[in-house]
C-alpha cells in the first residue's frame, strides 16, 4: 500500500485507467477546483438549461447540485442530500455490512458476507429482488489454459475499445468460475431450477489465439423464468442464512463521519419514515444503472435519447450517493447494452438476412451484429426498430450461417398472430410474422409497404448479380427474398443496461479524486466502473455481464465481512 502511494505521487495515479477517470470524470473535486479558481463557483451558472435537460429550480443555490467536470454547468441529476432531522428517523439498526440494492450483484454480496461471518442487511427499492437476463458466465480454470485465459482477457480489453481497467477483467477471469458455481449451488438451495450450461453457449470462444478455454455458465431460464426469479431464489437462501432484507425501502443517503468515512445508510420505509442502518465494516452499493434518469442519460450518454428502455426505476440513486460521498463518476461517453433476443429466436438474431428500418430501407451490411445495430437506429423515428426478412427457403439457404435456424413450425412460437400458447419466451415481446405477400408482411412489420417492396426488389437484383454494390455484404450472405410465404422478425433494440459507473479499485472500494479509497464504501454491479468502456457492451463471452456481477458481489461480500 505504501509503495503504491509513492508510485501514485510520482506517476500522478496508480494506473492509466484510474488516472484518466480522475482527470476527466465527474467528482466534487472538479467542482471545488473550479470554485477556487473563481470560475462560476457559487453563483448560478448561465446556460444550465442548454447543458442538461433536467433543470435546476430557479433560486436554488448551485452548491445544492453537482457540477460538470469543467465546473461550467450545474447538474440537476446530482442533488445534494438534504439533512434529515433526527426526529424523522424512526429507528437505528446496526449491522456489520449493509448492502444497497438486491440484484445480481447485491444478493450474492449479501449472502457471501453472511457466510463469512458478518451480520448483513439489504435495503431494496422494489418489493423484491430484481435482475434481468438468463446467463451468467465464469471461466472454468481447471479446464482452461493459462495462455487462453490471458488471451481472453486481452480480447475483452480490445472489445472494450481499450478503455477498461484490465485488472478488473483479470480479476473476473480468475475468480468467476468459483463465483458462478457458488451462485448456482446457493440458488438451487433456495429452490431455483438453475443449471450449469458449461460451454453450450460459448462454442465460438472455446479457443482464443489457439489456446483452449472452458466455461461455467449459470442458466436461469428458460424465459419467462430469468435471473430476476433466480435472485429471488438466492434471496431465500440468504434470508435462511440470516441476511435481513428491507424491501420497498429505498436508500436515500449515506451516513459519513466528518472525515468522510461511510458508516451507514439512511433509507425511507414504506410509511414515509426513515430507518438508519449503521454498517460497522462497510456499505456495499449495488443499485445498478441510471437508464430511467433522463437528465443523467442526456448528459452521459445522449446516444440513447430516442431508444426505449427495458427496465424501470433505475434512476441512478447510487451515483448520487457515491458522488456526494466523494466518489468519481466515469467520464462522459458511457457504455450501453441494447438487445432484442425476444422478438424472434435469439439464435437467429445475428443471421445476416435482409434487414430494413421503419422506412422500409436497407441501412447496413447485415453482418453487423444485433448488439450494435442501435448505433444505426438512434433517430426518433427508427428508435431501435428494424426487421429481419427472409423467404420460405431460409432453412436451406441459410443453413451454413452462424447461429441456429429455427424451422417454420418453431417460428410460430414467436408469432403474436398464432393463437397457440407460447413456450420459453416473453409472450408480450414476441414479434415474428409470416405473410403471403410482401405488402402484407410490410404492414405486419409496420414498415412503409411501397419502399419495402422496392427494397426487396433491389436486394434480389443484388443477390442475382452476386455482388452487394450497395453495402458490400459478402456474396455467400446474399440470399434473395423470392418465395412466399415471406417471414419477418420485427426487432426493437432497447436499453438493457448502461454499464459505466463509479471509479473503484480491485477491492471494489470507491476511490476519491486523489485515488485514495473512501473508507467503508464499496461499489459493485453496473454501478461499478472500469469493467467496460467501449461504445457497446461486448458479447465476447455470452453472460459476462451477470458473471461479473456475481463474481464481484461474491468477492466483495467476502472481503468486507473479513475486515
Amino acid at each position: 500500500m505504501k509503495k503504491r502511494k509513492r508510485e501514485d505521487k510520482k506517476a500522478g495515479g496508480p494506473d492509466p485507467y484510474t488516472d484518466e477517470v480522475i482527470a476527466h470524470g465527474l467528482s466534487r473535486r472538479n467542482f471545488l477546483a473550479g470554485a477556487s479558481a473563481g470560475v462560476a463557483g457559487l453563483s448560478l451558472v448561465v446556460g444550465t438549461k442548454e447543458v442538461v435537460a433536467g433543470t435546476v429550480p430557479a433560486g436554488a443555490a448551485a452548491a445544492d447540485f453537482g457540477k460538470s467536470s469543467d465546473g461550467g454547468a450545474t447538474l440537476s441529476f446530482l442533488p445534494k442530500p438534504k439533512p434529515i432531522a433526527e426526529k424523522d428517523i424512526k429507528s437505528t439498526l446496526t449491522f456489520d455490512v449493509v448492502v444497497v440494492g438486491a440484484g445480481a450483484a447485491g444478493v450474492p454480496a449479501a449472502l457471501s458476507a453472511r457466510e463469512n461471518g458478518a451480520s448483513v442487511a439489504v435495503v431494496q427499492k422494489a418489493p423484491f429482488a430484481l435482475s434481468q437476463g438468463n446467463s451468467g458466465t465464469g471461466i472454468d480454470l481447471a479446464n482452461s489454459e493459462k495462455a487462453g485465459i490471458e488471451a481472453l482477457v486481452g480480447k475483452i480489453v480490445v472489445d472494450n475499445n481499450h478503455r477498461c481497467n484490465p485488472k478488473l477483467i483479470r480479476q473476473w477471469a480468475y475468480n468467476s468460475g468459483e463465483a458462478v458455481r457458488w451462485v448456482i449451488d446457493r440458488a438451487k438451495k433456495g429452490g431455483s431450477p438453475v443449471i450449469d450450461q458449461g460451454n453450450l453457449q460459448q462454442r465460438s470462444i472455446l479457443k482464443v489465439n489457439g489456446y483452449g478455454l472452458s466455461y461455467v455458465t449459470s442458466f436461469f431460464g428458460p424465459k419467462p423464468y430469468t435471473t430476476g426469479d433466480g435472485m429471488r431464489h438466492l434471496a431465500i437462501t440468504a434470508e435462511q442464512a440470516g441476511v435481513r432484507f428491507f424491501y420497498k425501502t429505498p436508500a436515500e443517503q449515506l451516513v459519513q463521519t466528518p472525515k468522510g468515512a461511510v458508516v451507514g445508510v439512511i433509507a425511507r420505509a414504506k410509511d414515509g419514515s426513515y430507518v438508519r442502518l449503521m454498517a460497522k465494516k462497510g456499505v456495499i452499493l449495488a443499485t445498478g444503472d441510471y437508464q430511467n434518469n433522463k437528465a443523467m442519460c442526456d448528459y452521459f450518454i445522449p446516444d440513447v435519447k430516442h431508444l426505449g428502455r427495458k427496465q424501470l426505476d433505475k434512476t441512478g440513486d447510487g451515483f448520487v450517493m457515491a458522488y456526494w460521498a466523494g466518489g468519481v463518476i466515469e467520464p462522459i461517453g458511457h457504455t450501453k447494452m441494447l438487445h432484442d433476443f425476444d422478438a424472434g429466436p435469439a439464435s437467429m438474431c445475428d443471421m445476416p438476412f435482409l434487414a430494413v428500418n421503419r422506412q422500409g430501407n436497407r441501412f447496413v451490411n447485415e453482418t453487423v451484429e444485433m448488439s450494435v445495430l442501435n448505433n444505426y437506429l438512434r433517430d426518433a423515428e427508427n428508435a431501435g426498430h428494424y426487421a429481419q426478412v427472409f423467404d420460405s427457403d431460409y432453412m436451406t439457404q441459410a443453413a451454413k450461417w452462424p447461429g441456429k435456424l429455427v424451422p417454420p413450425e418453431g417460428l410460430k412460437n414467436y408469432m403474436p398472430d398464432d393463437p397457440r400458447p407460447k413456450k420459453g419466451v416473453f409472450e408480450s415481446q414476441v414479434n415474428t410474422h409470416v405473410a403471403g405477400t410482401l405488402e402484407e408482411l410490410a404492414r405486419k412489420l409496420k414498415v412503409v409497404p411501397a419502399a419495402f417492396v422496392a427494397t426487396v426488389k433491389r436486394y434480389n437484383e443484388l443477390c442475382a448479380s452476386g455482388k452487394d454494390v450497395d453495402f458490400g455484404k459478402p456474396a455467400d450472405k446474399l440470399v434473395p427474398v423470392l418465395k412466399a410465404p415471406f417471414y419477418g422478425i420485427h426487432r426493437r433494440v432497447r436499453v438493457s443496461a448502461i454499464c459505466s459507473g463509479m471509479l473503484v479499485d480491485e477491492n471494489h472500494q470507491a476511490l476519491d479524486t486523489r485515488g485514495e479509497p473512501i473508507q467503508g464504501l464499496y461499489i459493485i454491479g453496473n454501478l461499478g466502473g472500469g469493467f467496460y468502456g467501449g461504445v457497446d457492451y461486448p458479447l465476447t463471452v455470452y453472460g459476462m455481464s451477470l458473471g461479473r456481477c456475481y463474481t464481484f458481489g461474491y468477492l466483495t461480500g467476502k472481503r468486507v465481512a473479513r475486515l
Binding site: G228, K294, R309, L312, R358, E381, S428, K446, A450
Partner: protein, 149 residues
C-alpha cells in the same frame, strides 16, 4: 418527431408518426408518474414548474368528486400540498393483493400482479384523478391494451 426520409422513400405511415409524446417519453424513461396525480396542487406558486405542468384548473375537476370526496380527504389539511401516495388510496380501496385477485382473469395479463412490481405497483402509474388515466404497460408491451378507468 421529425421526418426521416432516406433515399427519397415515401413518408412513414401516419400511425408511426402519431405516437403520442407522452407515451413515447414514458417508454423511453419508464418513469412512474406518481406525481401527476396532484402535482399541480404541489407546484402552485413554484416558479420552477416544468413543461410537464398543466394549468391549475385541472385541480378542480377530479373523478372522486362523484363520491362526495373532497380535496382534503386525499391531500390532508397541511398547507403545502403533496402528491397522494398509494398508501392513501389503500385506506379506502383495501389491500392490493385482494385487488390483484379480483383482476386475476383479465386478459392478456393481470395488470395488478406483474413481473416488475408484483402486487405492489403504485396506483398512480395508471390511475389519475386530475388527468386522463394511462396504460402504463403499453409503451413496452404493445399488446397489453387495457382500458384504464
Amino acid at each position: 418527431m421529425g421526418t426521416m426520409n432516406t433515399r427519397g422513400g415515401p413518408r412513414l405511415e401516419a400511425a408511426l408518426r402519431s405516437l403520442k409524446m407522452s407515451k413515447l417519453s414514458r417508454c423511453l424513461y419508464g418513469l412512474p408518474v406518481v406525481a401527476l396525480v396532484a402535482v399541480f396542487l404541489g407546484s402552485a406558486g413554484n416558479p420552477a414548474a416544468t413543461a410537464a405542468s398543466r394549468p391549475s384548473t385541472a385541480t378542480r375537476e377530479f373523478k372522486h368528486s362523484a363520491q362526495a370526496i373532497g380535496c382534503q380527504d386525499c391531500h390532508g389539511k397541511v398547507k403545502k400540498q403533496t402528491p397522494v401516495q398509494t398508501t392513501k388510496c389503500l385506506e379506502c380501496h383495501g389491500d392490493t393483493k385482494a385487488l390483484a385477485e379480483r383482476t386475476a382473469k383479465v386478459k392478456p395479463t393481470n395488470p395488478h400482479d406483474n413481473r416488475h412490481y408484483g402486487t405492489e405497483g403504485d396506483c398512480a402509474f395508471c390511475h389519475r384523478e386530475h388527468a386522463k388515466s394511462e396504460n402504463f404497460c403499453l409503451p413496452c408491451h404493445d399488446r397489453f391494451d387495457f382500458k384504464v378507468p
